[in-house]
Amino acid sequence: MLKYILRRLILSLPVLLGVSIVAFLVISLAPGDFLDTYRLSPSISKEQIDNLEKQFGLDKEPVVQYFIWLKNIVQGDWGYSFTYKVPVWNILFRRLEATLLLSITTFIFTWGIGIPLGIVSALKQYTFTDQALSVFGFIGISIPNFFFALLWLFMSASTGIFPIGGIISNNFDSLNWFQQMGDYFWHVIGPMVTLGTSGLAGTMRIMRGQLLDELNKDYVEFARAKGMPNRVVIYKHAMRNAINPVVTSLGFSISGLLGGAVLTERVFSWPGMGSLIIEALTQQDIFLVMANLMLSALLLVFGNLIADILLAAVDPRVRLRLS
């Protein structure tokens, strides 16, 4: 198993290298550079722009720029953000707390509620409960996130139950530790529900379909005919076979944990990475964007690895193949 993990990690290196080349070239090929906003400032002269180009290393060819970037990374230097003048990782880490708070709660919301609801739906196939859950799921999937977010905010504004965006209240400093934690969670509910409802239906539908597939198979009928209790048939046999694709997609969604959700973050003014990266992209703050893309690529690699390990844990066939 350890050997397998090691092999996977070594094989991911060329993948990451490839991602970095493509990403860097795409950013460089996009018109303009970070200095475009400077170019439109009446107080900066043409000569000064040329000086700044040299200072920021933007006067070199994209290929040269890439190799300089790569060389620095090998030496452990990821560069600093043009806008913030701060090493890129420090900027990204400052957003980590809020990003993780939202993505983990959303993750729990989506999978923690989606899987049980999918099972309920499958077991009560074609009953009122099943139909009601499906309708609920489809509503969630079909309302665009930003619109749902706006609806939520108007609801909060008119009822006053939930806060209007943000991550903390104005009086945050005067609260004690428990109240502060409560304040965080009170604020995360809005964006979590917004993001969660769209993912929830997906999880629910996959779980329902998979379980129904398995329940219609011969071995289930055989187990039932043998007189095995229904609980055991479903949870010990059918479930274990049905869960595989769900575990795989769960692994994929790990890579999205740090990605952020731009529109929802914007409407809820949630201080996550999504809004940071969009701003960096429009300003062509190239090293910051690169660091974020590499982080996403790395998480994708890890997410897949974790999914495979989880798969091995739930499925003995996979375990056998790996060893």
């Binding site: 475009d36 439109l40 400032s41 957003r95 905010l153 965006g165 943000g166 003014s269 201080p271």
Partner: protein, 578 residues
């Protein structure tokens, strides 16, 4: 024993120095209440608090409450008020030069209690402003017409900046220098990199200020907290040390709809409203007891530029024709933009300055610019244009007039302006194709021949001299016409510059060496008459300044300042909560 006396003497001297009484600046306010927190909203947080390396208004909006300069500005954004300097004057010297004198207040302190002295100013000037590559803006602002930087000498508490030539712009440029503390920066000015990486958002808490507030907390994407500077040098008439408010809290709310909801819910005390939101806010005014102020037009400058060197030589000839541009301006329905985009809360602009500006020349109104298709047609006829049987406009050679207009997508105002322009000139039989592009594409194409006309806005100071880069023929932002240098490599016959542009170029070059303010104003009057009369750039509209606030906020001077982004928060130290 001798050693002991020396030490005693040094200590006494130090005590004497620290005990020095502050020479207070007395602000013309009284009766305010000290304390309280003002909650404000901003759409984006600061990127860096190093004033010499930030280029974003989101950063400036925070640090403008932190850093003081030698001089301050009045409610018309004119730099003519004492600040760190208690007195300032200038002399024309016998050798034809100009000397600017600033007498620094005694007893000034940084927010960490260290004395703020002439040393700091000398340090800022010699090591940062004059330092090689130390600032993003460069030194151009401080240079006289011949490119000289002033020589700085110190006599006690008096700083003397001496230019070898006549130079009128010293209060605006030198008086506005952001002073940096020497005791913090002295080892950080050896390279631009180490200086640029100072006072970033990572160092919040260590940053000190000379202004009314210091930033004490920044949660990225959440809020910025500024607290009172205990050593601020301004007092009210009844002897209260300003600022009145203990804290300013900026909530970072990216989405303007959410910002409005937050104001309505009371999370934000004061909101600069867009004209689109105005009716909804106004409707709740009586119920919520808000004060709403409708100010004059903002100092914005959205204009349509025509490329005098467009790729197609036929297009060039139209765009270089004064009557053609005048016709475009007459046909351009500004009132409709104000009605649809700004709910009627805006004013048309016909020249580069509007009535908010201290330099506005009301004489440009005599041109009688107002939407008129008849006048537009008359100007086109004068230029030799005709119409064919389908109503299409033809030029003097019989070519159908059709061109492109472009702007950056994502800017609501510019897109609306483009649409209305396309609609307006349709009535003249001109087909204009609107092609929005990404911001960076627009900037990259600015100096090429790959555009016919575009909509842009530029920000700068109120004094037209700040626009030198835009209006001089060889200026870095004079993008609609080639610089005269091109005659070295393009056919000189293809280079065209009108007399009006030549004169404007001259005005931009000579104004800094004219000392009499009345004569300078004459130049600006002439500049506006030329720019408006020939419609070198076709200016569009500007929205009125609109702000709503809770009724417990007392604004020292409710007339909004045109200084970019300041509005009613100009002189923040004198604002208090009842």
């Amino acid at each position: 024993m001798k050693k002991f006396f020396v030490i005693m003497l040094v200590m006494a001297a130090a005590l004497f120095m620290f005990a020095e009484e502050t020479e207070w600046l007395i602000r013309d306010v009284e009766g305010g209440v000290k304390g309280g927190t003002l909650y404000l909203g901003t759409t984006s947080g600061p990127k860096t608090l190093n004033a010499y390396w930030s280029q974003e208004s989101s950063s400036r909006d925070i640090y403008k409450y932190m850093y003081e300069s030698l001089m301050g500005s009045d409610n018309k954004a004119q730099v003519n008020q004492p600040a760190l300097a208690k007195r300032f004057w200038r002399e024309e010297t016998a050798d034809g030069g100009t000397a600017y004198y600033f007498e620094l207040r005694k007893g000034l302190k940084w927010s960490d209690g260290q004395p703020l002295t002439v040393e700091d100013i000398v340090f800022t000037y010699e090591n940062i402003i004059k330092g090689d590559g130390m600032t993003a803006d460069g030194v151009e602002t401080y240079q006289d017409t011949e490119g000289n930087l002033p020589e700085l000498t110190v006599d006690g508490n008096i700083l003397k900046f001496k230019y070898p030539t006549k130079y009128r712009f010293g209060y605006d440029s030198l008086g506005g220098i952001t002073i940096m503390p020497k005791h913090i920066f002295k080892d950080k000015v050896d390279s631009p990199e180490s200086f640029a990486q100072m006072w970033t958002i990572e160092q919040i808490g260590d940053i000190i200020s000379s202004g009314p507030y210091i930033v004490t907390e920044y949660r990225e994407g959440v809020r910025v907290v500024l607290e009172r500077n205990p050593y601020y040098f301004i007092k009210s008439k009844d002897g209260v040390q300003l600022p009145y408010l203990d804290k300013l809290v900026f909530l970072i709310v990216q989405d303007t709809n959410t910002m409005r909801l937050k104001f309505e819910a009371g999370d934000i005390d004061l909101l600069q409203i867009s004209a689109a939101d105005y009716p909804a806010i106004k409707a709740q005014q009586a119920e919520k007891n808000w004060n709403i102020i409708v100010g004059g037009p903002n100092a914005s400058s959205q204009f349509i530029a025509f490329n005098f060197n467009a790729k197609d030589p036929i297009h060039r000839e139209w765009f270089r024709n004064d009557n053609f541009r005048l016709a475009m301006s007459f046909a351009f329905d500004r009132e409709t933009i104000i009605d649809t985009l700004y709910n009627g809360l805006g004013e048309p602009m016909y020249g580069p300055r509007n009535r908010t500006s201290a330099f506005y020349n009301p004489e440009i109104e005599s041109f009688g610019f107002r939407y008129s298709i008849a006048k537009a047609k008359r100007y086109l006829q004068q230029a030799g244009f005709t119409w064919n049987s389908q109503g299409q406009l033809l030029d003097w050679d019989g070519n159908v007039v059709e061109f492109e207009i472009t702007t950056n997508s994502g800017s609501n105002a510019r897109e609306e302006i483009a649409n209305i322009f396309v609609d307006s000139v349709q009535k003249l039989g001109i087909n204009v194709n609107y092609r929005p592009v990404q911001f960076n594409t627009l900037v990259q194409n600015l100096y090429s021949a790959n555009w016919d006309s575009l909509i842009l806005g530029l920000q700068g100071g109120d004094d037209p001299a700040w626009g030198t880069n835009v209006w001089s023929l060889n200026g870095g932002l004079h993008f609609w016409n080639w610089s005269p240098e091109v005659q070295d490599w393009v056919d000189p016959n293809e280079y065209y510059v009108s007399d009006a542009e030549k004169r404007i170029d001259e005005i931009m070059k000579i104004n800094r060496s004219i000392m009499d303010p009345a004569k300078v104003q004459d130049l600006w009057d002439e500049w506006q008459m030329l720019a408006a009369g020939k419609q070198i750039l076709v200016y569009t509209v500007s929205q009125n300044y609109l702000v709503a606030m809770k009724d417990d906020i007392v604004i020292f001077n409710p007339e909004p300042s045109p200084l970019y982004g300041a509005g009613v928060l100009w002189n923040i130290e004198a604002i208090y909560k009842k």
